[in-house]
Symmetry: C2
């Protein structure tokens, strides 16, 4: 509410928007062309893959991929229908649902990764050295809501 945004800060923000849009649009095209998982599906399955027992509560998953609750419900519906996840009732909270990664889901991740990896490199990472990549990580990390403040 107080002082104006500096031109440098505004420029950084606009560059973040543009870099993100261009890179993700290009990567989505690459994934589409290779007939592997789209980005949104990959993110959900990967979040489950990283989780203990390959399993997360619906709201945790929604937070992890930055999607609304309803959006995640629908996305998990589709992943379930495709056989990549299943739902399981949560023993300690009878309101809750677990989304669980299936072996088919794991296989889809494995199949997608080489394409995704290659695309991240071409569309994004090739522009930076490892030291620069670490600098980007270190800076952008501060924006995560729960890690700051």
């Amino acid at each position: 509410m107080s002082k104006a945004l500096s031109p440098d800060a505004l420029k950084a923000w606009r560059r973040l928007l543009t870099a993100h849009s261009r890179a993700t649009a290009a990567i989505e095209r690459d994934l589409e062309r290779a007939n592997v998982l789209p980005l949104g599906w990959y993110d959900v399955l990967y979040a489950l893959y990283e989780a203990p027992d390959n399993c997360l509560r619906m709201h945790e998953l929604a937070d992890a991929v930055v999607l609304s609750r309803s959006g995640l419900t629908r996305l998990v519906d589709r992943l379930d229908k495709a056989g990549y996840v299943t739902r399981a009732p949560c023993p300690e909270d009878r309101r809750g649902q677990h989304a669980v990664l299936t072996s088919k889901g794991k296989a889809a991740l494995k199949q997608t990764w080489p394409v995704y990896e290659n695309s991240i490199r071409e569309q994004f990472a090739r522009h930076f050295s490892d030291a620069e990549a670490r600098r980007i990580s270190g800076l952008l990390e501060r924006v995560f809501g729960d890690a700051s403040g």
Copy 2:
């Protein structure tokens, strides 16, 4: 197609995705609550504001905001209906259309900016010094398709 992506590069990519999602989600909420233009509308109107004569061809505008042609057609439909832009046939190419910013559109930009500015600061810029912001700009600039290679 050749060597594997380094862990540093992958981490930078994941941080970019997360930082972008969290910041834009929070900013969209702020804009919504303040009853001003949403981000996508702001971007289009701002691109026109920056352009000579406040006017761009449809495909230029689509490129500027990284949206598909059809997506832009519909978005300009809505902006037109709201009175923020008008369409004008293009004299030197009879297939073409210009999207032109109206004075009402300019007013909406003016009204939105303080809210947006404040939100960019709170959700993004407050985490960085000006020097750091310049570092982010300098790095991310390389990702723009047309400015590289």
